[in-house]
């Protein structure tokens, strides 16, 4: 396909002058053309430099494509004719105060004043207590009712507001409003000292510490010209895969608990801990904080640690297989999982679902295969996509990925790993950052595609740091899965997605 967007390599910095700067009309036309013919939106955001406001989009086909334009104050919405832009346009409206005219569902994303000090697109006064101050979709009629849940939920979980429109026990529609976890990470990254960047990245989403840590490190490496050695790349992959296994196993256990089948819930609860303890063994922190830094990793996997890891994995592997069988072959579990909360392939495409949630709806995309970073290019990834889009498919995809990840880690531990550890809280102040550059990184964290974009000015200072957690795409998938489903199946569906509130809220 001919396009005026230009190809960009995952994790490679380019001079900003190389990025096509189109007129808004051309930008809009080209972006729509790419996405309407099957492309996906990786990043689409606004930023201000000096007195000019700009928009920039990174799209993916089998390549990563980028282009930008000057931002108009008001523009005809892209979502109106092409749904995958929906969340991104809402985010731009909130962050930059730019109105997409004709947007089908223009509501705030995280409840915060825009960065440009412009009049709020949603008419909010942020000096007041604002969260929840919004006219939710409402329903009326006989036997029709609404259920409001949150922001404080019944368990030890993050906050968010859920509004169910129901008829009897059936859910018409679930509206999800987040923003309670908003910590202002993107603007904070612009003013924070360089030594703090990685610590902040480690806390974007604590269950995806390695995923976001690696994504930031690659971006900083591209801009500072540091590059990790081969051993560090292998250790990063081990870190990412341990994170994937721990989270998938934990969620499979939680799914089991939600259908009142307690043995796998407890076994997987404990086994998840065993994998977190492997990350602890490597880097001293169960969640992988302080593990990855620009330039490499801060901890090596020596022969002793490698031996212990191998031993523990070999002991756990058959146990996991057995518990997976116990869970996924039990007729009573299948009766609850199968057909529950199905999202169609068509809807998944339009919502742009990523990661296991997307693969469960038949979208095979896996960034490890399509845009491999670190050591991933050395592996073959069989497609795990399932056609049914229900709780069973989401559980099955995760179960297969757990076994796949175990295979990856074992094959990497088979050889000695050598790396020169990064000692300091990099990036240190002596690093020279490439001026007037742009970099995008894309990685497959356990929930799916994580992407970081960094833009520097002519002095090498960061003028825009944009983060996208896979949950940004997938929350609407959860809302869709609930349609015409019993409200009591919400916990089960919620667990099958297990999306990040803080990764979404930033």
């Amino acid at each position: 396909m001919e396009t005026s967007f230009c190809e960009i390599i995952n994790g490679s910095a380019v001079a900003r002058e190389k990025i096509p700067h189109l007129s808004f009309d051309d930008f809009r036309k080209e972006a729509l053309k790419i996405v309407e013919s099957g492309g996906k939106v990786v990043q689409f955001f606004g930023y201000t430099e000096g007195k000019t406001d700009k928009l920039l989009a990174v799209l993916r086909t089998d390549k990563l494509l980028v282009a930008g334009c000057d931002a108009p104050e008001v523009y005809p919405s892209l979502s109106k004719q092409c749904e995958p832009f929906h969340m991104f346009e809402r985010e731009i409206a909130e962050q930059c105060g730019i109105r997409p005219e004709g947007h089908p569902w223009l509501k705030m994303v995280r409840y915060h004043p825009n960065y440009r000090g412009k009049k709020d697109v949603f008419g909010n006064d942020y000096a007041k207590e604002i969260p929840g101050n919004y006219d939710y979709y409402s329903v009326e009629g006989e036997e029709v009712h609404e259920v409001a849940v949150g922001p404080v939920h019944a368990g030890v979980i993050e906050p968010g507001h859920f509004r169910f429109n129901c008829i009897g026990e059936r859910v018409f529609h679930l509206e999800i409003q987040l923003g309670y976890q908003h910590r202002g990470i993107e603007p904070l990254l612009l003013k924070a000292e360089p030594k703090r960047l990685s610590v902040i990245a480690d806390s974007i989403a604590g269950d995806t510490t390695v995923g976001h840590g690696v994504s930031m490190s690659q971006a900083v490496e591209a801009l500072t010209g540091k590059s990790p050695d081969a051993g560090a790349r292998i250790i990063r992959v081990i870190g990412l895969e341990l994170e994937r296994i721990a989270n998938h196993i934990g969620d499979l256990g939680a799914l089991s608990g939600d259908v009142a089948f307690l043995p796998p819930a407890n076994y997987f609860g404990r086994i998840r801990g065993d994998f977190l303890n492997m990350t602890l063994l490597i880097c001293g922190n169960r969640l992988g904080k302080g593990f990855v830094r620009p330039g490499g990793v801060r901890f090596t996997i020596d022969s002793e640690i490698s031996r212990i890891l191998m031993e523990r994995i070999n002991e756990l592997e058959p146990q996991i297989e057995h518990v997976l069988d116990l869970l996924l072959l039990a007729p009573s579990v299948l009766a609850r999982f199968e057909g529950c909360g199905a999202v169609s392939n068509h809807d998944a495409e339009k919502l742009g679902l990523v990661g296991p949630a997307g693969r469960a709806c038949g979208l095979p995309y896996d960034a490890r295969r399509c845009f491999p970073t670190e050591h991933y290019g050395k592996f073959d990834f069989p497609e795990t996509a399932k056609p049914t889009g229900d709780v069973y498919a989401r559980a099955k995809v995760r179960a297969e990925e757990v076994m796949q990840s175990i295979g990856i880690i074992k094959s990497l531990l088979a050889e000695p790993i050598e790396t020169q550890c990064v000692d300091f809280a990099n990036p240190d102040r002596s690093s020279v950052w490439a001026p007037s550059s742009f970099v995008v990184t894309v990685n497959e964290a356990w929930r799916g595609e994580v992407s970081h974009c960094v833009i520097t000015d002519e002095t090498g200072k960061i003028v825009r740091y944009k983060i996208k957690d896979p949950s940004f795409h997938n929350w609407n998938g959860l809302a869709m899965s609930l349609r015409d489903t019993g409200i009591s199946d919400f916990p089960l569906n919620n667990k099958s997605f297990n999306l990040s509130y803080c990764g979404f809220d930033l």
Binding site: G155, E158, R272, G273, C283, L287, D325, D428
Partner: protein, 247 residues
């Protein structure tokens, strides 16, 4: 049925004997930091300068466990000569001042409020409020319910409603958008109530310190009875704190 039994046998009993038996965490775990004061000021300044959390008071040669994320940068830079992290996971303190430390922490059991032990020693029901945390602290509180830790065997539970709770456990740097919900939850807990702050974010704003969207320390909003440092605190740190403070 048979496979359920087979799995049961394979799994065995995994519950730890803590506190009757000691638990050793793995060698790279970073617990209570130990400050060695007898080092050149230059080295101390270098550590303070490199600390991503600005948690080191170079003049008094102390480390602020409320700000610290236990990354170990200072230990590496000083090669353990100024700061070394021990494997002691008993980090919790009952006064904010105690977070500023040279590594000798006051005995938590002696500092705990005696009427709490009387009131809650046999049964403690807690409501957790996640207030803009990254879900790491939440995750490592959640695991206390798994078989290894099995918090319920001590009569301590996390409950669904603040009305049934004896106190709240707060995680995260309390975003502007969560402040009201946090106050509402606290108000719903019947008095006398306990407030426990868990994690660097809740203690000081943590990694998000400096953002106008967050609160730099829960104690600025309400009285805090128990401070549990860490990013996130290891489940053993949480378990030790709850058992020592209330039992």
């Amino acid at each position: 049925m048979l496979s359920t039994l087979k799995n049961r046998l394979e799994q065995g009993c995994k519950t730890s004997k803590y506190p009757k038996e000691k638990i050793e965490l793995s060698p790279r775990y970073r617990g209570v930091p130990k400050i060695h004061k007898d080092v050149p000021a230059e080295l101390v300044a270098k550590c303070a300068d490199a600390c991503p959390q600005n948690a080191i008071d170079a003049e008094r040669k102390l480390i602020d466990m409320g700000r610290c994320v236990f990354c170990g940068t200072c230990e590496r830079i000083s090669k353990g000569r100024f700061v070394s992290f021990t494997r002691n996971f008993e980090l919790a303190v009952s006064e904010k001042d105690h977070l500023m430390t040279d590594g000798t922490l006051p005995d938590l059991a002696r500092h705990s409020r005696q009427h709490f032990k009387k009131l809650f020693g046999r049964s403690l029901q807690l409501r957790q409020v996640s207030a803009a945390g990254c879900n790491a602290c939440e995750a490592d509180l959640n695991v206390l319910a798994t078989p290894f830790f099995d918090l319920a065997r001590f009569g301590i539970n996390f409950v669904a409603s603040p009305r049934h709770a004896d106190g709240i456990v707060v995680t995260g740097p309390i975003s502007r958008n969560m402040k009201q919900a946090l106050f509402d939850t606290l108000e719903a807990v019947p008095a006398p109530k306990v407030v426990i702050a868990v994690g660097s974010c809740t203690l000081s704003g943590g990694p998000f310190s400096g953002s106008p969207e967050i609160t730099e320390g829960l104690d600025a909003l309400m009285d805090v009875d128990l401070f549990i440092p860490g990013c996130p605190p290891h489940p053993m740190t949480n378990l030790h704190a709850l058992l020592t403070f209330f039992k």
